[in-house]
């Protein structure tokens, strides 16, 4: 019996190629749609032979392209972190929002920016990461200490408790400093508008790190998803995988919150859809989640911008409006 007899049959490389094409189309659509729809040929022109004197070109490159890139990155990051969390905790309801990471990161940012007045772009992702990891450990710790251990139900309740606590603190911080209220009000709902270039640049390494680590441990997460004792029996170092997964999730979440504020439910919804097509192997789920997440958020962002034009709804609100019913459906279907 050789090792090769265990390798799953390779499917033709159709699907990834198709997915990339779809993603590219979504991207292009996102860029072309807006207060004024810019036809696709002009978009292509702006990207390939940029001319600073053409108004449309400037709009595309200075405004829309960054936003589209942001949407794609944030979508991919959130989806991958959700997938990892669901695999490691064996909880179909896990998501960086529900388990408190988003609010932890936001709270840390609000604290540092609002209260201590330190707004250096380099600092923000780091601060967000610290907040996220502390919140995650608090949620996990409480659930694990409960009778019955960290069951899916207990984990979600623990997440709800920590979220409520931190949300109250964030609101208090906002009330104590009315000026930041206006500034942060929109950011706190999860928004892709107004991402400063500086922060994006500093968040990028976190994002890449997180994605790379996620891809690297994907195979082990698959084993872990079968149960810790089974995984240990297969020779897996469970503690190390969990630590790496935590690092990846925190890095991805920190990057997201730094750039776009807390955007919930993306990490919940996308991996479930991906699993319908890609099965249970995280070597497939992680990359597909990244692609699907990017596409999902691009489309959602278009909706957020266009549905009540000219008023723009925060993308985070739309993801909640879409994601919460899906969460409810999941509870009904899976528990």
């Amino acid at each position: 019996m050789t090792a090769s007899s265990f390798r799953p049959a390779r499917r033709p490389g159709f699907a990834p190629l198709l997915a990339l094409v779809v993603l590219a189309l979504a991207f292009a659509w996102h860029v072309s749609v807006g207060a004024r729809t810019i036809p696709l040929p002009v978009v292509a022109e702006a990207l390939l032979s940029y001319d600073a004197s053409v108004f449309e070109h400037v709009v595309i490159v200075d405004l829309r392209l960054p936003r589209a890139l942001l949407a794609a990155m944030v979508g991919a990051a959130l989806a991958v972190s959700g997938a990892l969390m669901q695999g490691v905790t064996r909880n179909p309801l896990a998501d960086p929002g529900i388990l408190g990471l988003l609010i932890g990161a936001s709270f840390a940012v609000v604290l540092v920016v609002g209260v201590f007045d330190l707004a250096a772009p380099a600092l923000i992702p780091l601060v967000a990461a610290l907040g996220a990891v502390i919140a995650a450990m608090a949620v996990w710790g409480i659930a694990a200490a409960a009778p019955g251990g960290a069951m899916p139900l207990t984990l979600v309740l623990s997440g709800a408790a920590v979220t409520a606590f931190l949300a109250a603190l964030v609101t208090i911080a906002n009330l104590l400093d009315e000026q930041s209220f206006e500034q942060l009000r929109v950011w706190m709902t999860g928004s892709l508008a107004g991402a400063q270039g500086g922060v994006m640049l500093w968040a990028l390494p976190w994002l890449c790190c997180g994605l790379v680590v996620a891809l690297a441990i994907a195979r082990q997460v698959t084993a872990l998803a079968m149960g810790e004792e089974t995984a240990t029996g297969l020779g897996l170092n469970v503690g190390r995988v969990k630590a790496l997964a935590l690092f990846a999730v925190v890095a991805l979440t920190a990057a997201t919150v730094a750039m776009a504020g807390p955007m919930g439910f993306v990490g919940l919804v996308v991996p479930h859809v991906v699993r319908l097509f890609a099965g249970q192997d995280y070597r497939q789920i992680v990359p597909w989640s990244a692609l699907a997440g990017a596409g999902y958020l691009l489309v959602v962002d278009v909706a957020a911008r266009m549905v009540l034009a000219p008023v723009e709804i925060s993308t985070g609100l739309v993801t909640a409006l879409l994601g919460a019913p899906i969460f409810v459906w999941l509870v009904r279907a899976r528990l």
């Binding site: 009778p147 019955g148 709800a160 408790a161 208090i172 009330l175 709902t189 609100l317 409006l321």
Partner: protein, 349 residues
């Protein structure tokens, strides 16, 4: 068996009430009075205890004292107490009916539903009279409760955890809608709505007190009648039928009662979380008694919680006022976590 009981076994009216619980109730009521006096004394215009008592008796030492006490602090303190009592009663009822110690009107989206209805009204139709608010809140709360009930119920013995999780999901949805209204409404309306939404008693006047007091008075008889069915419901639906209770009807009535109690409070002072969850448990720990007396103890505990939270919120970062709802969250979450740590996640309804 009669030791420690206020008991009457014969005649048309009979009862057996534990003396300890009655004593605790008296103590809580005494503490409440003390809290009210303290609330009247403290603030940007401090008053002595004697001045407060004189003002209450109608012989105010100064016009300023009269205004401060009768126009601002007294209605506010009473509103806090009444709201706390209503929320605690709502939570206790819900916990008895669902047989789940983690039930709370704000955890299952009821408060959020009431909140959405009122915020939508405040932002979109600011001309709407304040008297309409309780009606809207009740409607919103009832709609959300019905929605959650409809989604979470399954004939294969619905799990209460599923009920609560569904509530969390629906609450998230409703919160997003509410945020949308807040974010895209005009800033001044949004700010006042946000203040209300955080669960704030500070704008409460005699109008609010009247509505809250009225709600308590109207719903009190219902609660008195509900205490016996609630005791039977705690034994489980099948046993309750065996004991001669009409379970389906009683369940509907009690959930509606719980929603009405919470909606009344939320309509006047915004959603104040965790009181409904925590007050009944504190009451259990303070004294052991039957369901009826436990409801009274819960109400007193809830009143104290919100009253104290409001006072703390007023004084902690003066002159900035922290809404009572945020303070109850800060107190309530650790208590909720403590409950989580000792309650087996039961999945039975």
């Amino acid at each position: 068996m009669s030791a420690g009981l206020l008991i009457r076994l014969d005649g048309p009216v009979t009862y057996a009430l534990p003396v300890h619980a009655l004593t605790v109730l008296a103590v809580l009521l005494g503490l409440t009075c003390t809290l009210v006096v303290a609330s009247l004394m403290a603030g940007s215009y401090p008053l002595e205890a004697t001045e407060v008592v004189m003002t209450l008796a109608g012989r105010a030492p100064s016009d300023m004292a009269q205004t401060v006490v009768w126009q601002f602090r007294f209605p506010r303190a009473l509103a806090a107490l009444a709201a706390g009592a209503l929320l605690a009663l709502s939570g206790a009822t819900l916990q008895n009916v669902t047989r789940n110690p983690l039930a709370d009107p704000s955890l299952v989206g009821v408060s959020q539903g009431a909140g959405l209805a009122v915020v939508a009204a405040m932002v979109a139709w600011p001309e709407l009279p304040q008297a309409m608010r309780p009606v809207l809140a009740f409607g919103g709360a009832l709609a959300v409760a019905a929605l959650i009930q409809g989604i979470a119920m399954r004939r294969s013995g619905g799990a209460t955890m599923r009920f609560i999780l569904t509530g969390i999901g629906v609450a998230a949805f409703v919160s997003a809608l509410t945020s949308a209204f807040l974010t895209y409404g005009q800033i001044d309306r949004a700010l006042s709505a946000l203040g209300w939404l955080a669960g704030s008693v500070h704008a409460a006047g005699w109008g609010e007190v009247a509505v809250l007091g009225g709600a308590l008075l109207c719903l009190a008889p219902a609660l008195v009648m509900a205490s016996r069915p609630m005791a039977a419901m705690r034994m489980g639906p099948e046993m309750a039928v065996g004991l001669g209770l009409r379970v389906g009807r009683t369940r509907m009535a009690l959930i509606t009662l719980s929603v009405a109690l919470a909606a009344a409070a939320v309509a006047m002072v915004g959603p104040i979380g965790f009181v409904g969850l925590v007050a009944p448990h504190l009451a259990h720990r303070l004294a052991r008694c039957g369901v009826g007396l436990h409801l009274a103890l819960s109400a007193a505990t809830g009143a104290l919680l919100v009253g104290a939270a409001d006072l703390a919120g007023r004084l902690a970062f003066a002159p900035v006022q922290i809404p009572a709802g945020l303070v109850t969250a800060l107190i309530g979450v650790p208590l909720f976590v403590w409950l989580l740590l000792r309650t087996q996640a039961r999945a039975s309804l």
